[in-house]
């Protein structure tokens, strides 16, 4: 499963929306359940799924599918727990 597919699945699960409705162009405002609380839930799920750690400064920026994909591609290389220290 590539990064986009995994992310679509995650967003669908987080906000209880059909996976097909999530595209690379989806932004926070497109999904009503993606409110401030929903956003935090999504961020925590990203951390779980991609085994990454987000700073507060990252969390506030990742408000669209594209932003998340870009972040994962540059900063979010999956790492083991040991090497994140």
């Amino acid at each position: 499963m590539d990064m986009l597919d995994a992310l679509r699945e995650l967003i669908a699960l987080a906000f209880d929306v059909p996976r097909e409705t999530v595209t690379p162009h989806t932004v926070q405002a497109d999904i009503p359940a993606w409110d401030s609380v929903g956003h935090l839930n999504l961020m925590l799920m990203l951390e779980d799924h991609f085994k990454v750690r987000l700073d507060v400064s990252d969390m506030v920026k990742l408000t669209s599918v594209q932003a998340i994909l870009d972040w994962l591609a540059t900063s979010g290389t999956p790492t083991t727990c040991e090497s994140t220290r």
Partner: protein, 637 residues
Amino acid sequence: MSAAADPLTAVLDAPTRAELDRALRTTGHELSLVDVNRLTRKLRGLNEATQPLRVGILRTYTTELLRPHWELAALLHGFTLDLYEAPYGSLLPEVQPDSALLRHQPDVVFIFLQWEDLDPRLRGPLPAVPTGQRAELVEAMLEPLRALLTSLRQVAATPIVLTLLPPMQGPALGLHDAMAAESDAEFRTAFRRRLAAWLRDSVPAAYFDDLDELLADVGRRQFFDTRLWYTSRCPFSVAGARAVVERLMTYAVLLKTPRAKCIVLDADNTLWGGIVGEDGPDGIALGPDYPGSAFIAFQRRLLDYQQRGLLLALCSKNNEADVLEVLRQHPHQLLREPHFAALRVNWSPKPANLRELAAELNLGLDTFVFVDDSPHECLAVRQELPQVTVVQRPASLPDMPRCLDHLPTLEVLGLTEEDRQRTELYVQERRRRELRASAGDVDQYLRSLNMRMTIGVNDTRQVARIAQLTQRTNQFNLTTRRYSEADIRQWMTDPDRLVAHFRLADVFGDSGLVGVALVRGVRGPTAEFDSFLLSCRVIGRQAETAFLLALLGLLQQQGVQRVEASYIPTKKNGLVKDFWPQQGFVPADGGPAAPADGGCITPPDGNRFALDLAADLPAATAPITIQWAEENPHGHA
């Protein structure tokens, strides 16, 4: 299993909720938020029957991030959640009549507060408060809680669970806190004890839940997520949130379902390692060295459960002599014969033995928790007796001492004197049965017991036990009306009503408070038994006749001329359907029943009875000496 394998595969494949729950326990996998959402989706898809659970939340910090955990925990326990979260920081407006919280009609209200909410001095370091002012500070901190909870109690009887967010940082004085006179830890403990005592004495059905205990279990670094706290005022990490919700859900389960009463234990490879019939009492693993150490720790934990009023029973496929030798002689065995309320050591199938144990202990199988190492025995019991909670001993022995900790039905929200003595009471009963078997006839047996009954009236010290009996007694219960402690307290203060109880003692010991009668209309001329019930523990000793006769005498003295009573049939109280006629009551007309409390059912026609008190009462026949408790405020001796 490869490292990349999904640890939840087996869990997500489970065809039923029960199997999913079991598979989840078996994996021991720490759930991520993704897992929580996947499991919730899976459980919703199973579409199993659930009962509704209405939860209300008052809070002074962000609890929205607990929602996915509430959803999952509710579904795992067979509930469909209907959650109302009051606006952040809104407390007093929610406890006014017709508030959104009350309109939600919650089954339980959880309150999430911070220490700082209770007094402004808590915002600064505690050592800055002079030690001489600390007692005053404790009382000042109770004030906002008094305002909140008393108001809530005036408009709703809903159970309340109050929590205080544990401090996110260690004590002000660091290492020195443990030695300091101005210790944070000591102050916080003192306040918690004071709060608990106040709730116990003054707010019915309100519980303080100590999240600090959970914090100790999870660890401060794992419990909190400071990123979420400083950005969104949500203190908990994913693991912390899940732990908080799982702990609080225990209250909901206890309020909605019956608690367990007996843990039935296998012996070989459950209480000790190895097989006593083959390895011999000296060859089993039970002692300070591993694996015997793990079995000892498990036995030690079982003694804790006994302190909560749970019974232990033994159910083992073995020669009885072998097992008894371990119970009586093994130097490291902690659970001895008198720790077990009943034993079944034989070669019969375990489901048959469980049925026998239920009959002997007079308990429903749905109050049993069965623990065995054998997957075959566990399966046999699950299939034949689905109402029994089955726990298979964990494969990893060090996990064993905690293997029952997750069961909400093993928790208690209160403890009575009877709970603490329960095992002893059952052991006494076993000796009574032995005497009855050896005595020539029933009369001779009853006389040889040398029974003494002490009757008390409107004794407020017994409110908890009396309410407990009305809630738990199913068989010898004429009307099966359930009452809370608050209800009982109210009955006691009403001059036209009376709450009588009795204790029964005999040569084997004190059975404790085992019978209750609630009477209305005691100022006459017509009184009515609203409730009349007896613990199953003393059935068959003619205590009911002695108790009733004494109460009728009391009512007669007070000028009551006629006593009415009814029998409301249930699935479980067929035993007492002829009780009133047997006691000399005659069928009364099927006129309208007296208004019953708490929306009770009116007894069907033909189940109402009356007794004319103008005539002489029958002479006492039961071989029981009666005395009235000294504290009897009505002064009848």
